[in-house]
Amino acid sequence: MDDLYLILATLAFLGGFILAAVSLRSESPRKQGLNIPIAIVGLIFQSLFLQLRGEMHGRCPITNGAEVLVFVSWSIVIMYLALGKAFRLSLLGVFSMPMVFVFQVIAITYLFAADPGPRRPVTLDPWLELHAAMSLLAYGAFGLAGVAGVMYFFQDRQLKSHHPGRLFYSMPPIRYLVDALVRLLVIGTLLLSVGIVASFFMRTIPARSHLLISGAVWLAYLTLILVHLIKRIPPKPLCFSAIIAFAFALLTLSAL
């Protein structure tokens, strides 16, 4: 049943992206209003999948790579639904849907190929659960920051080319994209900080590699924010850094 929920969530995000792409190319912009309801439907199926996996493991469902990818995807959707409107970036959802779709396709493939099954802990450690949940929520914010960075490059290219296409008029201003990116980096870093602080209280001492990788990701983002606050990094290198930092964070997930 959990697999079915994951497939339904994945199809919802694929459908949402296709519908948005068709709507952006069509003469009528009305279908764009469906982005949020579709994202909510996808989120519900993701949540059901994570709930079933959580019940199966008796803990936060991040016991294998597939679950971690679904959890990160869930965080991205949550962040978009919570902040997209506030940041006046409704298209952030459209741009993040392909990424969520790819993550979930990888997760489905992994689970179908070799689902490791239940991995119940001997004792439940709430600090460990808090550490994992906060860290992956932070990855959601970082993922969305990366998407904002991609959107910036897209819009910058359109402006520089002097031939803005139809999508140009539906895209947010580049200043808003940079502002949203910075806020998402701050939110992500704060969440990750909470996760790292929680790890100090965990009963089980994490592996040295885990500590080093988590610390490296946290330090990378913290440095990026501090340098930006002090020196104000120009938009292009800032967006590029956000994309590279998320790619780095994703790579480290496999090591964790």
Partner: protein
């Protein structure tokens, strides 16, 4: 009781005729009362703007009412018989015409929103004057719904249609709301003034004007509520502004790559939008290669405006479909505010695209 519309607009009458037919704002209530004094006419709304003079009303016998109304207009305004041809619409065609007007489809700038406010004002004036009843109330309220529906469900407002609006749209895609944006004009020409006014109308502030003739700079600065700087000093203001409009008559580049490159290093990532409307160009083309600098010349703005116009024209059919669907859904009986069945199906079957019928000269 069918509704009707009689009028002229920018497509059917030159400005020389329209200006003579234009209703003075204060005189509209008096004219409305006089129009409603015509035997056949029981309700009336006058829509008088710079691009159109139209009278909407209700009458038992619209053909006779339209004839008398045309005579009234010729008699009361300085137009000669034979000098003007009014278009006439009845029933669904009249409703359809008003819906197209309220949606901006009949405007000189396709999809513009000002007309929506003007229709609202015309209706409010007639309502206050007591010359509207059930039919006009319903018709105009429906026109507001249609106007909003067309604008929200189509792309009729998308894209720029003039150099000024293209500049504003681009500025908004760079900076978002222009509330905090500072503008500098180099060369106090007419095009600079128009473009700056477009930016000001969207909230831009702190205009700096620089011109070889300082008097002219001061004059334009006073008009735009900005400040003038001497032509030798404009470079020192580069780090203060977000948008530069340049239109000098210099035969060589005035704004050079190294100037902007130097300034951008000090701007800490803040974008700069340069609008070069001079021929020969004032700003070196290489400036566009600098990060966070966006340079547009007059040809590029013109191209965007042309594409915007073409895009809006392509939307006309989509908008008309929305209006037709609305008319089909509501039906002329509902628009006339009459119970179903009265006036029979013949009226209801009138197609919304009924062609305009010019009035034989009275």
């Amino acid at each position: 009781m069918p509704i009707f519309c009689l009028g002229v607009n920018h497509k059917t009458a030159p400005i020389e005729i329209r200006e003579r037919l234009a209703f003075a704002e204060k005189a509209v209530p008096r004219h409305l009362a006089e129009i409603c004094g015509i035997d056949e006419i029981s309700e009336a709304v006058v829509l008088s703007t710079c691009n159109r003079v139209e009278i909407y009303g209700g009458a038992e016998n619209p053909a006779a009412a339209l004839d008398k109304l045309a005579k009234y207009l010729v008699g009361h305004f300085a137009v000669e018989s034979g000098e003007v041809e009014f278009y006439r619409h009845e029933a669904a065609a009249a409703a359809n015409h008003l819906f197209e007007v309220a949606s901006g489809l009949d405007s000189m700038v396709l999809g513009e929103t000002e007309i929506f406010g003007q229709v609202k004002k015309a209706y409010a004036t007639a309502k206050t004057a007591g010359t509207t009843a059930r039919r006009m109330n319903k018709l105009f309220q429906q026109s507001f719904s249609v106007g909003k529906l067309v604008r929200s469900s189509t792309r009729i407002q998308q894209g720029s249609t003039s150099i000024g609006s293209a500049a504003v749209d681009l500025a908004e895609k760079i900076f978002g709301q222009l509330g905090g944006c500072r503008v500098m004009i180099i060369g106090a020409g007419e095009m600079s003034r128009t473009t700056a006014q477009s930016l000001l109308s969207r909230g831009a502030k702190s205009i700096i004007v620089s011109n070889r003739s300082f008097d002219k700079a001061e004059e334009l600065a006073a008009e735009l509520k900005g400040r003038a700087v001497r032509f030798d000093d404009w470079e020192s203001c580069l780090d203060e502004v977000d948008i530069i409009i340049s239109s000098t008559s210099a035969p060589h580049a005035v704004v050079r790559h190294e100037m902007i490159h130097r300034v951008m290093a000090e701007r800490r990532g803040h974008s700069l939008f340069l609008i070069d409307i001079a021929v020969p160009r004032d700003i070196e083309n290489e400036v566009n290669r600098i990060d966070n600098v966006y340079l547009y010349n007059i040809d590029q703005l013109q191209q965007i405006a042309s594409e915007g116009k073409a895009r809006r024209e392509k939307q006309i059919a989509v908008c008309r479909e929305v209006i037709s669907a609305f008319l089909r859904e509501k039906g002329i009986e509902a628009l006339a505010g009459l119970p179903e069945g009265r006036h029979g199906d013949e009226t209801a079957r009138i197609q919304p695209d009924t062609a305009a019928r010019p009035l034989t000269n009275p």
